[in-house]
Symmetry: C2
Subunit: 570 residues, 2 copies
Amino acid sequence: MRILSGDALKCASVSELKEFCEQLREEIFRTVSVCGGHLSSNLGTVELTVALHRAFDFPRDKIVFDVGHQCYTHKLLSGRADRFHTLRKEGGLSGFPKRTESEYDCYDTGHAGTAISAALGIAKARDIKGENFSVIALVGDGSFNNGLIFEALNSLRILNTRVLIVLNDNGMSISPTVGSTHEVLGELKAGEAPLEDVKLFERFGLRYVGAVNGNDFDQLLPALSEAKELLKTTSVLLHVVTKKGQGYPFCEQAPVETHGLSPRPQSGTEYSAALGEELTALAAHDGRIVAVTAAMTDALGLRGFFDAYPERAFDVGICEEHASVLCAALATQGMKPYYAIYSTFLQRAFDEIIHDVCGQNLPVTFCVDRAGVTGADGETHQGVFDLSYLSPIPNLAIGVPKDIGEFRAMLRASASYPAPFAIRYPRSGREGKVEKVEIGKFEVLHSSMSDIAILAAGERCVRMGERIVERLKGEGKDAALINARFVKPLDEQLLGDLPQRHIFTLEDNVLAGGFGDAVARYYRNSGRKVHAFGYADAFIPHGEPASLARRFGLDEERILAEIEEIYARG
Amino acid sequence: MRILSGDALKCASVSELKEFCEQLREEIFRTVSVCGGHLSSNLGTVELTVALHRAFDFPRDKIVFDVGHQCYTHKLLSGRADRFHTLRKEGGLSGFPKRTESEYDCYDTGHAGTAISAALGIAKARDIKGENFSVIALVGDGSFNNGLIFEALNSLRILNTRVLIVLNDNGMSISPTVGSTHEVLGELKAGEAPLEDVKLFERFGLRYVGAVNGNDFDQLLPALSEAKELLKTTSVLLHVVTKKGQGYPFCEQAPVETHGLSPRPQSGTEYSAALGEELTALAAHDGRIVAVTAAMTDALGLRGFFDAYPERAFDVGICEEHASVLCAALATQGMKPYYAIYSTFLQRAFDEIIHDVCGQNLPVTFCVDRAGVTGADGETHQGVFDLSYLSPIPNLAIGVPKDIGEFRAMLRASASYPAPFAIRYPRSGREGKVEKVEIGKFEVLHSSMSDIAILAAGERCVRMGERIVERLKGEGKDAALINARFVKPLDEQLLGDLPQRHIFTLEDNVLAGGFGDAVARYYRNSGRKVHAFGYADAFIPHGEPASLARRFGLDEERILAEIEEIYARG
């Protein structure tokens, strides 16, 4: 396709722009259907992004994409069209803004709510250095629930600078947006625009412009001109209403389902489905059980629970911290909260896990989904730190199921467990049947008289351990295989009784502060040798999960070679 | 003193209440002057707390104290007057609410912004269980800048329950409150109460009552009756204006200085003073340097910098997350941000350290004050997790100075360091002179031909190492002593060259994922024995720092005993 840029873009007629947008939409649709990625949010922001590129002068002007998953059109317009077919592929273009990828990407994002803070920092540096360019934050309405956005708005006057906040209001987070802020925006959209709402934004140092239809150039172009003019003297909030999935009826009608697409159907079953089934079944006989999510009810498999027990199900919006405190407080009154969240997003609630949940030793269960290397979304979405940041927290038990059956058993065990409990699991995996797990007890999968024991934490590692044991058998060699169901507490009795001198630990997590360190700490000066395998001290980019796992340290061949070496030494 | 409670309190006349408050004030003043603690905030809330105990029926009704440092009157009124003289002493009453201490304390706090989320959780559990009592959140205006408060307000309607939020507005965080929210509250206070502000609260599902003088029963009692009545059908925000330090002119005039008092002058010099001096000096010759704090300019020693370079100094209020993103963004534009914060509060920015600062490998320097065991404030204020949660983060260097001179040298080194850098240090310590440190290089303090080497991380541990070496010498024994200036990166060259077989690691941090684990990981299967000393897997309560350090694992006698044992074995 021919990309309109520079003067050609600035001089194009509205009809030319519309035609261009259709081509962009087709390109995005074609690419995402092959590479996977975020579809409906990008289809919805094609006109808006084109209009921004027409109105401003990137990369001299700077634009920060909140979350960043809606940056595809921006990538197509900034010299990356020729590589767009490599989107989200290992070594290819990232699905998110990356400063290392293009000077048009001024700030990396992936998690929600950072864009206004980032825009303020960039604008403030501009002022201090006496430079002159425009700074824009493009933020979805879902992020407007997030505390970080509020903290940034609250400091607009303190920082005394100028930014343009483009509120991309499609009424959706990954799930539909909830909360009072959303209701306020709704009224503004409806054109009722109560005085106090507009005044509210001015109170925070923002001139409000809008709401305009973000899929309609006839509204969008003049609104952007007005905003650009105002921006010379004040910060501006431009309220743009877009339709998620615009142009593709099935996306418009199913924005949740088409928010993110995988290139091919996930191999195996989704853990999230099991979470929904087990929790719903448990809740039928246990009135204490409540489920809490931060704007991801469907992705986490809890839609069924929410339908069955609306009075015990809470989606509080993109508010990971608030959700944690809410769970802690519910638990102080005898309720049994289950907080489902992605591993990388739980980082947002780190202080509340310590201060509110574990500090009071409350029976909250964290269902930590998308743990380990997740793949195509890259650095900001890999769940490879959770074992490290959860392990040092007193009172917290950490379960790592080897398959979905074991995950179900852990959920059942958690119902009567009187203290904080985190269960971390990958997106999808094997079924499998486990009747019962005892918290803190490992499972011997294969015992051996050899001097080598493999302790595997979690599904990816247990499967790797199984393959290694099989391959060793083929060579007349052997190793014990232990399913380390719990990273905390460790099964010290089993560890103490292990006859092997060479202990291999496998974890789908960075090595620093993870499972291997915990086992090595237990075995310290015991005469045993701990061979720890996990991820290197690096941010893991996007790519194919198995390939990334291997590249960054969970390498079957290297593990086998180290075992062979031990055999060779005799 | 005679405590008014139950019917006596409910029937007391205003003049009796006033007299009672004077007695409470004297008791608080007398106790804090001996035990240390939070003075001005407690003096300011005596009438408010008495009025709440008169209006409500605790412990049946529940009150959550945001931050919790203003709970002294509540403790005196809830059966703890006889133990009040033990305030903040080891084994005595905590300076914060503690569920384990009294049924009148329904939720533990210590960090800002959790109270409304907690009140909502308690109220929601009440509704689900069909119970009937009132839930109150007492929140200072400083916390109203915090994102967590906003997230809770945003979900009021979603959760569809009833809570009373008492906004205790004294215009102060630890530093004066800043930000637009504060300005809105200011107008309400001034009685100008613009329609849109009151409407704003209603938009979030709150009826606004106030503003009333919280030190005047004639305004307070009727306002509470009104709020209590409204609470039957809706959530309520009662805006109460109090004077921090009320009743003690020197506290009223110096609320910052009298916010928190130490029982006796800190031994040694404060690191914060050195931070202010060094940064101000560096900034004179380096226009890239900016300083950022989250409502603690004075406590962190930055007042001088703020006065000298107001255009490069930002206090964004109690917004630890926003401050981190702001620093990251400033750094993308070539600025050199220094973000000063307490170790325990930095937990709030964990995700932003990973996602924004280290993920983009930006040269932000975190000045992590109050690291290690801090003492009298207890569980929520011990800085014993930072080495564990910072070490797994890629791209981050971590410095642990042995004295203030070394801290200054690290600050100078950071100015030209092109990547993320965290320097963690205790409140106070020794002067000392260090010309230059190289990032990632240790310092040999005492070399030895013995088979024992002590690697000490940070001032408390280096001093302990010095004492141990002295005591060994007295017995004709010896050990090498290394100042492990950097927990990350480790000085692998020095570690590799160490001749000793027995390596003792000392750290003022929990053992899990800390310095000892990192050294043990490096030495794994090297034949060396690592003896790691640090804190146990537990929350460390309030007490005297040296005594707590010993009790929880940094025990000089135990370390010596282990060394003696090695000598005994020969």
